[in-house]
């Protein structure tokens, strides 16, 4: 790039790109909407400028910040020091039009509020994020990047993020992506925020693609052993079957079917099994199933067809056999090695010792690339340093 020059023009009448301008812009676009009435905005934008000031001060003093939404995922990732930077007050749905299949919300908006709003219009979040507490916020959902049982069938958090407004480690507002599904202008820096654990920016707003509820949804259970069940699910997914969940609890395979009435009924009749309440899937989604209630909990992400490596007690698997929950007291290095050999990776999901690494170590070249990306967004290293890796 050439050195700094005068700022380029910007569309839509935005001025310096500051938060106040963006508010005006969003309000303008709402006012100009067609037949849909403007989406009511229950709480005024709060805290954005304040958050930016906090980041600028932290960057100047090189004091780390710990980004907090609803504080429901403090257990996840490495534990870090740092002054808490709360986004909980920066809340509210900014825009939601069911015919656009997108919801735009401030980071601190409770997940429950968004899901309730979508449900009113017969829509939902395709990636079915775990609800780890009533305070869970949409910003935290995106930053953690955790997806629920629909992941193999409907995509991950990152697949549904259409845009993000972030504050970088200099306290600058950056807006990437937008509210439209097809958008290839610039790098996908918005998807990059999904699962980045706040290391690449403080999320202020996100646009998320939403999906219509299926017309028919049923849950079935089968007595079938784990590996046989994985194979069976794999085969079912090789033909056009309306499956939206495949979970094994150590004893039984649980399938959820979702789609058009005819397709769901036909597959249900073919498979047989025992009908169970759809509510069963809440435990799978929210990680409250009794099988997962052990102490240290490892998550293995594996190719669907790779045999599950023998690294401890397999408690359950989800994601049609691609996500395995494991209890093990083996050294972390052994588990990482075993997962890598199977073509996947492992995360010490819950119960790590303070200061320990929890994510699968990156190859040296990849770690260096991560460090350069981190420095690009957060040169002073103040945004959740060490939350993902000690060296990041």
């Amino acid at each position: 790039m050439a050195g700094t020059a005068s700022p380029p023009p910007r569309g839509a009448g935005a001025g310096d790109g500051g938060l106040a301008d963006r508010d005006a812009e969003l309000a303008g676009s709402q006012g100009a909407r067609g037949r849909q009435p403007p989406t009511p905005d229950p709480s005024p934008r709060r805290g954005g400028e304040e958050v930016a000031d906090r980041i600028r001060e932290a960057a100047a003093a090189k004091t780390p910040l710990r980004i907090v939404g609803g504080n429901t995922k403090a257990f996840y990732g490495r534990q870090t020091a740092g002054e808490p930077l709360s986004l909980a007050g920066h809340r509210g749905i900014i825009d939601y039009d069911p015919s656009e299949l997108v919801v735009v919300a401030r980071a601190g908006t409770p997940l429950a509020e968004i899901e309730a709003r979508l449900a009113e219009c017969g829509q939902r979040l395709a990636f079915e994020p775990p609800r780890l507490g009533p305070g869970s916020t949409i910003g935290g959902v995106v930053a953690a990047g955790l997806s629920g049982p629909r992941r193999p069938f409907a995509g991950a958090v990152r697949d549904c993020v259409l845009g993000a407004t972030i504050l970088d480690g200099r306290g600058q507002v950056l807006r990437f992506g937008g509210q439209v599904f097809k958008n290839v202008a610039g790098f996908d820096a918005f998807r990059l925020q999904a699962g980045a654990l706040g290391c690449l920016g403080v999320i202020l707003e996100v646009s998320i693609r939403v999906t219509p509820n299926p017309r028919r949804e049923i849950a079935l259970a089968f007595e079938i052993e784990s590996e046989a069940a994985r194979l069976r699910v794999c085969k079912l997914m090789g033909r056009p079957t309306p499956i939206s969940g495949a979970f094994h609890d150590g004893v039984r395979l649980h399938l959820r079917l979702a789609g058009g009435e005819a397709g769901v009924e036909a597959l249900g009749a073919e498979l047989g099994g025992e009908a169970e309440p759809l509510g069963f899937w809440d435990q799978v989604r929210d990680l409250t199933h009794p099988a997962l209630m052990s102490g240290p909990l490892w998550r293995l992400s594996l190719p669907q067809t790779a045999p599950i490596p023998v690294l401890g007690d397999v408690l359950a698997w989800d994601w049609a056999g691609s996500q395995v929950w494991l209890r093990s007291d083996r050294p972390a290095a052994e588990i990482w090695q075993g997962a890598a050999t199977a073509g996947g990776h492992a995360t010490l999901f819950r119960g790590a010792a303070p200061g320990a690494e929890v994510f699968q170590p990156l190859a040296a070249a990849l770690l260096a690339l991560h460090q350069r990306l981190k420095a690009a967004f957060d040169p002073a290293g103040v945004l959740n340093p060490g939350r993902m890796y000690e060296a990041l």
Binding site: G34, S301, A306, L373
Partner: protein, 499 residues
């Protein structure tokens, strides 16, 4: 014309020692895979955006990743820019050679390395054609979902570089949603594995970053794609509307009703008339707009869904609803749509395909404004639209041999893209920024955002050697573009060439 690169605005490199570069490369590649004569390089001087032409110093045609790596190493050492090229079908000039660069043509990496029907994946080299993947996996009842209109010719490597879409992405997603793993080379020639055969990887989502990065970050040498089972049944509907606004309303109503069609396409009067003359698809010539809606799934579900669509369209004011009786009729409906671009070649000497995305609800006003701009610039515009996902393809009709028409077409295209940004959309839905939309990036993004893109690039490619002058403009370029740019979607002097 944007095919004239300007060192001041696009990045300057060391003076080229041509003899030394060619000497080094000719030790690595046999003569038939290193093209250095001007005449032999002509086929590579442009991509699908044929109006832009420029020649590299050499065209290298590696046969595998190791050869590509050594070419990159030499270029890095000698500080020579590298432009990667797939099938050259891109419409934004992304593979336009940079003066003094080596064009790394990956067409010889064209093998399907493995198909795993159980895991529903295929491992392919970047030069494999998009459609060839679906053809190869069809015996297993599978397909590769993203289907850009150039799928017969375009390569999967190019699809990854552009994050290609197609007519079915409303339901099945873009390239980024349908790939699992990439093997890539850095500008240093080092191998990087991005993604995995599992559904996620530790660390940052570099797959998201590399997909659609237009050759600015790394060179992809192998791709593992995700395959989907072919749907049990596919049904299609043709709907005619007396007014384009009604058609737009119907699209919004279909989506709001909870229907996710496999495809939902719209054509305006000029486009459908031209397409009908070309393909004889049976389009109603008295319509102001038509929709083609396709639903797939279990046979009776697809039928029920389409019946619901028909009902919604009638309520929105449709003048005719026609159900494709059989596969022959369904394919005929699509033949018209897919022939829309070549059909333009029959009604105008040249056409310029624009690619912007808008929120669907803004469609009526955007179509009206495009109509006004078309009159202002004195060039006809036909609209073809991936209506389901708001991706607009206005086709500007012009005559390159008429004085100033190409410049006017470029000016009109720029104005349409700026209109897309102004209504909350984007300057490119699926064709990429490439060279073509480099100036409009200055409209869509702020200085700080462009600096962030530059910093991401520098994290991969510190010397800026990979595909310079594309996708991410320098601030110097934006300053210069801004000096002649007027806010509000209009260009001050459309008669002037814009760089």
């Amino acid at each position: 014309m944007l095919d004239r690169f300007d060192p001041r605005l696009d990045g300057a490199f060391d003076p080229l020692d041509r003899e030394r570069l060619i000497g080094r490369l000719s030790q690595l590649l046999p003569p038939d895979r290193l093209i250095v004569s001007t005449e032999s390089m002509r086929p590579y001087e442009s991509d699908g955006l044929a109006a832009y032409r420029s020649l590299p110093v050499a065209v290298a045609l590696p046969v595998d990743a190791d050869e590509a790596a050594v070419v990159l190493k030499v270029c890095r050492e000698l500080n020579v820019p590298v432009v990667a090229r797939g099938a050259g079908t891109g419409l934004s000039g992304g593979a336009l050679p940079f003066p003094g660069s080596v064009l790394l043509a990956l067409g010889k990496l064209n093998k399907i390395l493995a198909i795993d029907p159980v895991a529903r994946t295929a491992r392919v080299q970047p030069g494999v054609r998009n459609l060839a993947i679906s053809e190869a996996v069809k015996p297993y009842g599978l397909f590769y979902a993203p289907d850009p209109s150039s799928q017969l010719a375009c390569s999967i490597g190019g699809n990854v570089a552009e994050n290609a879409g197609g007519v079915h992405c409303l339901k099945y997603g873009l390239t980024v949603h349908n790939i699992l793993k990439l093997e890539a080379l850095t500008i240093e020639g080092e191998r990087l594995t991005i993604g995995s055969d599992a559904l996620d990887t530790p660390g940052f989502d570099l797959m998201a970053l590399l997909t659609g990065s237009e050759g600015l970050l790394a060179v992809v040498t192998e791709i593992t794609v995700r395959l989907l089972p072919l749907p049990a049944d596919v049904q299609a509907l043709l709907v005619a509307f007396p007014d384009a606004g009604c058609a737009a309303q119907a699209v919004a109503d279909i989506i709001a009703a909870g229907i996710t069609p496999g495809g939902l396409e719209m054509m305006d009067e000029l486009a459908l008339t031209a397409a009908e003359k070309f393909a004889h698809a049976g389009y109603p010539l008295d319509a102001a707009a038509i929709l083609i809606c396709e639903c797939d799934g279990a046979a009776s579900d697809a039928k029920a869904e389409l019946a619901h669509v028909a009902e919604i369209c009638r309520a929105a004011g449709a003048s005719e609803v026609r159900h494709a009786k059989d596969e022959v009729e369904r394919l005929l409906l699509w033949a018209g749509r897919k022939g829309a671009f070549p059909a333009m070649g029959r009604i105008a000497p040249d056409y310029y395909c624009i690619d912007g995305t808008i929120p669907r609800r803004r469609l009526p006003e955007v179509l009206a404004r495009i109509g006004e701009l078309s009159r202002e610039y004195g060039l006809a515009v036909a609209n073809v639209f991936h209506a389901g996902d708001g991706n607009l393809h206005p086709l500007i009709l012009y005559d390159a041999s008429a004085d100033g028409e190409l410049d006017r077409a470029e000016g009109l295209g720029g104005a349409i893209l700026e209109l897309c940004v102004a209504v909350g959309g984007t300057i490119t839905g699926e064709h990429g920024v490439g060279r073509e939309k480099i100036n409009q990036m200055c409209v869509q993004f702020s200085t700080a955002e462009l600096e962030a893109f530059a910093a991401i690039k520098a994290a991969f490619d510190p010397a800026g050697l990979l595909n310079p002058g594309k996708a991410v403009p320098t601030l110097a370029r934006c300053a210069e573009f801004g000096a002649m740019h007027v806010h509000g979607g209009a260009v001050a002097h459309p008669e002037l060439p814009r760089f």
